[in-house]
Symmetry: D3
């Protein structure tokens, strides 16, 4: 993705992105259940989606030996480009962790921007220790094969109620993760940057004591004041 | 699949199959939520799995126009061979039906053995009217695109907690649907047929008034009696 | 509501209505959990919504004495006009029944078209015996006050994931219940009647053996054939 | 239990029992999830509770061999007295059936009044075929050991949100199952019989066209009319 | 509310309040799901309930334009008196936030004591930054209109399984939020203050090494000791 | 338990234990829902299980008076040996806390190693203040009797999807709690210690920049290197 787009999105909250996407007709863009692994961490990540797909475990398929097969999570990780956001469909399961500290450490070494899943990771302390930004439902002890079977990567997936196509843009912060369809990236970014600026100005007005009706959303009078402030470099 | 295997499995309950699979090390073989569309219908279907995969709806992808695309449920249905069991990963969603009466009518015309899903169908009366055996969570009014996005067919899927690989064997009856890994088909069928025979004999003994301990599971004495009855054509 | 609208809607499935509403921009119109009290009953009801609202039980409010108060379910029922569809927000609770046989019998006597709820009724045999069409999650033994507190009637409510404003139109059949916003009634009815006619024609084509691509949705060629058949009174 | 109590309770709905128990201070008496195995069957059973307890499966405990142990479901069944209602804590799990057709057939032969569980049974067709009244969440294929470990019998259990002490009275019908604490049995039965009588009289009044306020609950005037009718043998 | 009542309740845990309310016959007083927005924050708030009600989103009602209507969340906030606790029925939905940082900032400016909801807020970092005490299920990115439709304020609502009447008293702390029916306020406060004092004394005894039986609950001997200590100013 | 086993397990993560148990055939060993009461606390506890069992509340059984009975949680606590891990089956309920600060303080005084439950505790601030390590779903205000009835102790229980037999070994840390069947204790401990050592070595290799395939799981070449490093005291 273009550096200026990435840089612009680093300054936009996922809350703003969902509002902009809703106005542009996309309601299903928010990944339910993907929370920062350290609660209250508001760091943001931005990057193109690298998808991973799991199905339920099956004793003849999801064996410990499968970890050595060419179609394994290990092989998928080696295929991840620098700067991507790995996003994994774990069917929302909370009974096993998709990755532990070793896999996350390797992703960190490779420069992966972060990991997003509607499921869990495992070995929470170790994963946090790698410094890889992870957005998930939490961490549990059981290994992936206890509940999950790895199928493949870079396929269209569902994750937390959102369809993700490889190459869509993922933005995640303290409020969770949002998927921007690739074709809408520039329009969404532009509108979001402006929305952030406007809301920052409104917030200041509220803190001055202004009442909400007419201000948020802004009516003609307040909009004019905002435009004036913007022109004068005050918003 | 071989006709004699199919014919043997038509005489075996899914209850027996899960027990046989568990003894052979496969616990994750039962499709949660797939019930006969007419409650209390105990008709059985058997056939190789033809898989379908859905992800969550997304306004730019799951459009009414997408129904005309080459990668549509319509195209998938035209690709189904006679005798297969269509099995669809609908992520267990109950808020939209994957297929309605027209699609089911086409499947019926093409000789599809049945439809299994962890989700819903729609236009229940119409679907039942086609005569296609359907195993699902029920029927609702909303169309698939209200909640689902069709991705493709003949991929490995998860359905109701089971991983299904195209070509696995699906057996469904009043107790639900079971997936037999292709490589285990003959061994499972043989063991299941014998298990049914033994349980039929035990049931007669119970109805004669015998107590359960020692009989079910059968101890050496009862096993000998069963073998004798079997040899004599009485079991 | 106009008799010709009601009569037209009596011939349209809820499945068709959800498709028409989705095309007109309303996705949230289907009442999750409201099923015919007798499974497999496909009788349809149509009528303006008469809303009822419950909150959770509270020992000082939801007393047996509250049944005699002026703000009781009893008073609400006496206020129901003939032909309305009573629709009750029970917060989807399955642990108590909102109404039993006596209240349903009174509704039946008053000519209420039916009862729709996202919760339960109680005394299933008695309620079925009254002949009142009821759409609910099922029936349980406990009385409303065991889990619910009645608040009032003819307010805006949520029911099974849909907002219902008094005077919206409710249509319910074997596939569940759909809410049509009052302002869209005529446009939705007109489009739905045409959609039913077209789908009836397509179903006949499928039963003749036609493949789905191009037929459903119909391409220009098939559309022309349909229009010709319609003009000739054959669709 | 005394035959006259049993006979009286055979004429009382579980709906009435929950109302009577609530008035006497017991709100937690209804077994969530226990439905007649054949939907719409309104046959009633009454009997003292014979409890069974399951915990989650564990591979070293819930083996197929465990079915032959002295602490098995088989041994428990042999211990059941005629006329009891077997009630099993299956933790509400829907992924395995606690009993199949052979165990239910043995219970039927022994004169057990019925089986109540917050979980599932298996081999639905076979279980229905035994004629044993069963109240459960439904039937699935997997055997108990796939998800459950049998612990013992005649202990205090929880079942569907109700604590059941061996010897409590279980009444089950189309609306589900209710547990009457043993010490309250006579008082509850007496009040319930009277309540049924009164509600039968009110139902007739409603069918004559009377309005609900004042009638249900009955005010002084209506109560006097009821008492007069009762004295005259008309209620 | 009287300042001395408020001040007394500021010294009482919600845990103690639920016990006192249970003893006085009110079991349904605890708001499920309302947690401090910063986990582990044990700050307490007390104030009269100012209620807000949401229903599910509907595209023709819950528009971005609706934010400017006279019946909007903005108008409701302007109507909130200083010291009230805003409590919002969001139907327990976790897919959209009812309020973001701007609305919470305005509430803070107006002197609202806090916000309680069974749902979510959005823009977690911004909301926490306002300093308004918030009790909710967490924070997500999507705006209210993605899932919710605002109906009105100062109506009776259900929130997290509790019915709240405007004017009831809400107390919230690290253990969640409790609703005290207005009529019971003084009696509950008095009993709760005494209960806290007694439990503080018991805690000291436990830390001295005393065993629990006889001490908690206190038998006659321990009660006498407590009364003596209280009289002597040691409890 | 032997001090050297306890000491060895204090150095092993629950993540490693679940992998070792899975390889030895035990999949059902992880307690769903038991999390450190202070999120992000990674302290570990190890000890033999002392079990507690709850069923749903019932007004005639779960009274405040029951707290003084010989079969009370108080009596159970007095029976707990030093070093045990109390593990309570609360049926996963989140609507009441099993223990508050006073009971936890007593457990702390008695030297109990920690408390594990699939439910909740209450008075979170007070419980945390006692210093007792607690693993639970969280803390809420309501007392146990609001939702739970205490049955007894040192029985076989289910907790968070695991069967626990008194004397099994419980290990809990930031990833949750694992139950080791008593008979497998030594074999599991030995394998786990070796697994931790190997994974520590692999982690270092990953941090040096090695790719995952062949390394994790280790192929023959890497295994030889590990063994050499181990022999040389470098792993």
């Amino acid at each position: 993705m273009k550096p200026e787009i990435k840089s612009a999105l680093m300054g936009v909250t996922t809350a703003t992105l969902t509002t902009v996407l809703l106005k542009k007709g996309v309601r299903f863009c928010y990944v339910n259940g993907a929370r920062p692994i350290v609660p209250g961490n508001f760091t943001r990540i931005v990057g193109p989606a690298f998808t991973l797909r799991f199905t339920p475990t099956r004793e003849d398929l999801a064996t410990v030996d499968s970890w050595s097969s060419p179609r394994s999570t290990r092989a998928a990780i080696e295929d991840m480009p620098e700067g991507c956001v790995a996003i994994a469909d774990a069917m929302g399961l909370t009974t096993a962790g998709i990755f532990g500290d070793i896999l996350c450490a390797r992703m960190r070494v490779k420069g992966v921007a972060g990991l997003v899943t509607d499921g869990m990771v495992r070995d929470g302390q170790g994963v946090i220790g790698t410094g890889l930004p992870v957005f998930c439902q939490g961490y549990v002890a059981p290994a992936s094969v206890a509940a999950l079977n790895f199928v493949g990567w870079q396929e269209t997936i569902g994750c937390g109620g959102v369809t993700v196509v490889p190459g869509d843009i993922v933005v995640a912060d303290g409020d969770g993760a949002v998927v921007i369809p690739q074709a809408m990236l520039e329009a969404v970014t532009e509108a979001a940057v402006e929305q952030e600026r406007l809301e920052g100005w409104i917030m200041k007005e509220v803190n001055k004591g202004l009442a909400l009706p007419g201000l948020y959303p802004a009516n003609a009078e307040h909009k004019a004041r905002y435009e004036a402030d913007k022109a004068a470099g005050r918003a």
